[in-house]
Symmetry: C2
């Protein structure tokens, strides 16, 4: 049997401690199944005195993650520090330079510096593994990098942020506002004190940039992605979506177009019967459309157990002798993703307008849509005083929601039609526009 694979782990938060525990608990089985023992030999964390509920006896302790990264005694450096600059970046660079393969859960680091780090790793002949960086315990990296190599991928779309899916699910199920669901998510530990990174879509964008690299061979680049979050979604939208046969999900979508790859993160209407539409709460899901197979993978997107499971899966691959480039394509062949041109996006649209309740309003809306050659699949006009109007007294001044579903058109036409409607003065509040994702 080969000598043990020696692991150094930097970062002993809940995930790092979970990895130490899992490798200890599964020691014999991992050795038997991969043909090689896996041993954690050194760790690093800021506070050596904290109780971590895992056995660190006999392990060498480093105060400095960078020193651990360069340690000649380790084979694999596991980076669980987080952040895309500072210690995490320095440690990963040093580990690669020292000839160690890196396993990381750090989506921000790879989204921002993936090409540079992959080039360095390939030059050194070492790997970078990051199954834990996208969709937690769902093996989507492995699926794209290995299982689907026979496929030309057309689209990868996913619910990649549990916080947003939790909020949207609770809003719909319980008729609560965005704010109160966010508050709940924060109390349950699903959302940070500053929720911007999650609810405004940036976390999803980081993950999407990594999936796009694997699926399409484009350079990870969060700045090339069109990003909208979920703050603008109201109960009125969730209820209208339901009536129309859709769910609203924050999706990251990477889709092959004729000339490039379109990368976008935004609230999306998806048909109820899609497997991805039925994924609720903090659960994540990824749908992959290839020319031979279409898959949906559903599972836990975060949490220490799920993340540790992905990290340990990567370590076991290394113990089995599996290798390969970080993104499944040589770094030098990755193409730039190209800045997302959302104004050229083509598809159906959900448009909710707070229409002024006076003669000629509906006609004006219809005329402006027609002027842009936008065909309407359905128009739903709610009478004033419907439940989402709350308990205010009705008056002739109250706007009446008009919901339109368009057939396939493009973003530019929709924006021009809405601008013309706004100029007409027939809508009382800013319009809501949500893109529809279909087969």
């Amino acid at each position: 049997m080969a000598p043990p694979l020696k692991i150094g782990i930097a970062g002993l938060g809940t995930v790092g401690a979970g990895v130490v525990r899992m490798l200890a608990r599964r020691k014999d089985e991992i050795a038997a199944r991969t043909g090689r023992a896996v041993e954690v030999v050194a760790v690093s964390a800021r506070d050596p005195s904290r109780n971590r509920d895992c056995d660190l006896s006999g392990l060498r302790w480093f105060d400095d993650a960078v020193a651990l990264a360069g340690d000649p005694e380790i084979d694999v450096f596991v980076e669980l520090i987080g952040g895309h600059e500072g210690v995490a970046k320095a440690a990963v660079e040093v580990a690669i330079a020292a000839g160690h393969t890196v396993v990381t859960a750090n989506k921000a680091l790879l989204a921002h510096h993936g090409v540079t780090l992959a080039s360095a790793a390939e030059a050194k002949g070492v790997g970078i593994r990051f199954e834990a960086a996208v969709a937690g315990g769902i093996p989507v990296i492995k699926t794209l990098r290995e299982a689907l190599l026979g496929n030309r991928i057309a689209r990868v779309s996913g619910i990649l942020n549990g916080t947003c899916n939790y909020i949207l699910t609770r809003m719909r199920d319980e008729g609560l506002s965005f704010e109160s669901c966010l508050d709940q998510a924060q109390k349950l530990g699903y959302a940070e004190a500053d929720p911007t990174f999650d609810v405004d879509g940036f976390d999803t964008a980081h993950k999407l940039s990594l999936l796009a690299a694997l699926a399409f061979g484009v350079q990870p680049d969060p700045d090339a992605i069109h990003v909208e979050g979920i703050r603008s979604i109201t109960l009125a939208d969730l209820e209208a979506a339901d009536e129309l046969g859709y769910r609203i999900k924050l999706l990251g979508v990477a889709a092959r177009t004729e000339s490039t790859v379109e990368l976008r993160v935004h609230p999306t209407m998806v048909p109820k019967h899609w497997p991805i539409a039925q994924v609720s709460g903090v659960t994540n899901a990824v749908a992959i459309d290839g020319d031979a197979v279409a898959l949906t993978l559903v599972g836990p997107g975060a949490g220490s157990d799920a993340t540790a499971s992905a990290v340990v899966g990567d370590i076991c691959d290394l113990a089995s002798g599996s290798s390969g480039t970080p993104f499944g394509w040589r770094a030098e062949t990755l193409r730039p993703a190209g800045k997302a041109a959302i104004q050229r996006h083509e598809g159906g649209y959900y448009i909710r307008l707070a229409a002024v309740d006076r003669p000629g309003t509906a006609a004006a809306i219809a005329r402006h849509m027609a002027e842009q050659n936008i065909s309407l699949e359905s128009i739903m006009q709610h009478r004033r005083g419907r439940p989402h109007g709350g308990d205010r007294a009705e008056s002739a001044e109250d706007p009446a929601p008009v919901v339109l579903i368009t057939y396939a058109t493009n973003e530019d036409a929709v924006r021009r039609a809405i601008a013309a409607i706004e100029i007409d003065g027939v809508i009382a509040l800013p319009p809501q526009v949500i893109r529809i994702e279909k087969d």
Copy 2:
């Protein structure tokens, strides 16, 4: 770059021709991504003159698959002949003896002879890959063998036969009988002229035996599995399930118990909100419950594209230098699965009884359940003349369906209670019993 990986393919039906086409179409990308070119160099099939819509020019042709299997010019032998005896078995044995790694879609071969073949392959230091043998294009073998090594698996359950799921879906959606849906499935090519292998659960059992080997380290053995098919499922059951919040699916279930692994294939009530419950038509799905993650994988279970995709995924792994034992555990360490003891199965039950409509019937049923310590979660009594009674005239002789949902109990208690009820003469037709699968 390494020399090309040379492939010999035996069996050029729709899957074999699909593999040849996919490897040609994806040639450059596969070479770039795996670091090694993949070349089909030889093929074998019964009829050389048949038009296969794939380019076979320049390939060596073998009339005899066994001769191809032993050919010293190939690195990998791809077996797409089918059947668990005869040519397929002989060819795989010869390929292994000649030192060739085998890629196969043949679930029957591995279910019946997996231990022997894996032992031979391990002794020779070659691999056997069979992603295509279970759930078609869904990478469930790879997920269990590689991605989830950090997990202790508690249960693997799956919709593994598209024919059965198609029939159950159409029966429910359109209110059609089993026979007419089977007829439709045959016309669409989803079912064989002799449907026994599919609808009586044997195909599912073969696949389940392979999943159980990977997940639990038990020897594949179809005879150790309790198998029931879907012929007994009626519209009345599908409608009652719907009212009670369930779907009926033919599941293969491999679950760890205190002392062994329970392997069973039978119609199963699954809660509607489970991802697996929402999988319709010929689509397959596998749910894996580990101690760290719970995953559901959904995708195409059959078809030439999906199967070719799985075969090509395996071939690409070999080109990347990935190795490992066929079942992810050394063959000599696989434990016998132990004959399924369904009478000791524990769980909830759906029981539909055609109760004679006379005083004391309900009391008799309830008493016999209580005698066996079976607690009832719900009792649903349909009045005579409900839709599934059809348009026959009602009469006092007509039995009135009584549907019971029990709390967790065991098979033996249920069977004894029903036997006592039958002796009482209060039910007019054989009872329907469907096990419930829950979290």
